[in-house]
Amino acid sequence: MDPSHDSHISADPRPAPRSDRFPALQAGRHPVVEVRDLVKEYGKIRALKGVSLSVQRGEIFGLLGQNGAGKTTMIKILLGIARLTSGEAEMLGEPCGTARVRKQIGYLPEDHRFPDYHSANSLLDFYGSLVEMPRALKQKRIEECLKIVGLTDRQHYKIRTYSKGMKQRLGIAQAMLHSPGLIFLDEPTDGVDPVGRREIRDLLMEMKSQGTTIFVNSHLLGEVELICDRVAILQRGELIREGDIKSLTEKRGYYLVGLAPNQTFPEAEVAALGYEVRAAANRERWEISLREGQSIDPVVDFLRSRQLSLRHLSEKRQSLEDLFLQTVDAAEPGVDRRPGGRQPAR
């Protein structure tokens, strides 16, 4: 079973955000990013059609959507790389894109191409100078960041000798170099191997625990689900879903139950209690769906009364992928509407 589809009842592994970086913004739930009715037109193409969203400080925010939905455009506008056509966008309490704001953010673009005449070390040195880091701090951070992304050994090689994943790691290193309070990552795990992806996820959690706000664009819903606090789904330039990841995925109540080895699950009896039961995972787990108003407790009591040992009990959630596919034009590979394709469930 894919563990990402289960959320164990026991504990939320995520540490509570510790916030000390933006004292001015700490009072109340002041959003770090606030976007209202944002419209962006590239000539005739309307990339964003009136999007409103906000990101709270200290959270990891995921922006999802199909290819061409406008995710990158959104980030570019926030960073001042592209200009908005109409609407409002604020970051850290200022209009987006000002130099003062940009000093406090880190950014990993998609499809980045670092100037390949640099080495990892010299590139970070260059970028550090551009954000006006003092020399000593810069040296220290370069060392730290390269260590974190595992490029220390190759730091003096030219970037053109790096593999794709190494470049991506370097991208992450440069985004966090100056310890920004807010980081934008466009497809951060693109091209990174599974181990590396896990490392990046851990790294993001680590940064979050230090109070950094993180804004991620990604297609890898499994990953987003693992790390994000909140997500928003864009489709063709419109925001069609926004919310807490827990509440978005918690919707359907059904449980996964497993007994000790060699014990037989009393399928018929449980069904007789009025529950819907299905075998899963080679008849070692059983899915139990709750109807309106039902609770799982009677089932547990019943199994205990039969002297059966409960080895597994988890609330099965709807995966983010389920949600995503239901929400957007499912199974459509690109930006074009396929004739006869499903209409989005709004």
Binding site: K76, L79, I81, R102, H112, R113, L130, V131, E132
Partner: protein
Amino acid sequence: MKFLAILKDSLRETLDVKLFYAMVLLSLLVSLFVASVVYKPQPIDEQIKGSLTFSPLRPTENVNFDILMRLAPNPETQGIPVMVQMEDLQRTDQGPANQPWVGNYDFTLVLKIPHETGQRGPRMGPQGRNPLEGKNEAEVLAAVRKEITSDFLEETLSRRLSFLKGVKVKTLPATEKDQVDYRVSSEGTTITTAKAWFHQPALFFGLVDVPIPLMTLGDIVTFLGDYVIGGFGAMVTILLSIVMTASFLPNMLSKGSVDLLLVKPINRVSLFVYKFLGGLTFMFLNTVVIMVGIWLGIGVRTGLWVDAFLVCILVYTFQFMIFYSVSAVTAVFTRSAIVAILASFTLWIVLFAVGWTHWIFVEAQRDNTEYSRKWGFVLYDGVKAVLPRYKDLDWLTSRMIRHDLFQLTRSTEEKNKAQEEENTRRFNESLDKTYKGYNWTSSLAVSSVFIALMLGLACWRFSTRDY
């Protein structure tokens, strides 16, 4: 701080493709070449011979244009290529031997009638025809003696051997039946310093003599500075620099790279300007290496420290800026290095053509009121006036180099003062006349406005564009 970081980045970019090394190496080679040229003072007989026997019509023969022209109208001597020879040259004063320019000289000038045809003697008219055919040699000789008087020779030699002062010519009694002899004497020369004396340049530390007409050291260095360095060298440097710097901005602006810079807390105009200055610095450093090298090379060899060469560093960098600003604006609009190079080259060709044609057809005709009122003239003059003044700056640099060299080669001795003042006045007059239509202020101002417009346009586009 940020500026230095971007400069360092540009430098890294150039060093990465070994361009900078290549350019510096090239510059050093050129400097070394210039420093390897040796200038040997010419003995005076070479100069007199050289000045006497040169005829633009018959450059390989020992004839003199003035004498031929003088003989041409007389049917007796018409078409006879009378040869000129110098014999028995003597220095008649007691001056120091290593200062030939202070001496008095005597020599015999021999006019010889050729009477051989074929390979050994000079010919005129159809191949192999004897110019004396059907003529009496004695009569011809008498005619020559009649036409080429001592007065005529005195006037001609004073002009041709203009460095000799107090030229006196005496016709000698006849000795041979085919020649007339004259005794020429001079008293001092107009040349007052070694630097104004005639020299023979020899390449590669004196190995290879350069075949040039008789020139003073000052003239040689002027030629070198004006044509070889200022004309050809500067052109090559500027064109090469255009190619080498053309990719800086497009690389920075390329997709995937530009985002990384745009999010840094530096405004786009500064980013652009810094990057532009980065390219300019590249060109500037190169020019410094090459011009200082040339300045040193010539200075060490000749003792002529031509400061104008150092001023050229700034002029060439400024000229380069004209093209680089076009390259930059093209880069911002197209993000393509190739298009940027093409645009700069196109401008270069236009400015080069307009500059030359204006110099030849307009500037030379400016005083001709009949011509200069024509609308074509006015229109052409107007178009040229608003274009950046690339070529004007070239002319002005020439003027500066010439002026500098003149000042460097003139005498500072008290006894030559009057002469030198007169020389200087005449020289300055001729410079003023030649370069009348050009001046630094307007050339720099108009070009600066052009550069500012280009950069302004580029900045505007760069700072309003979505990436």
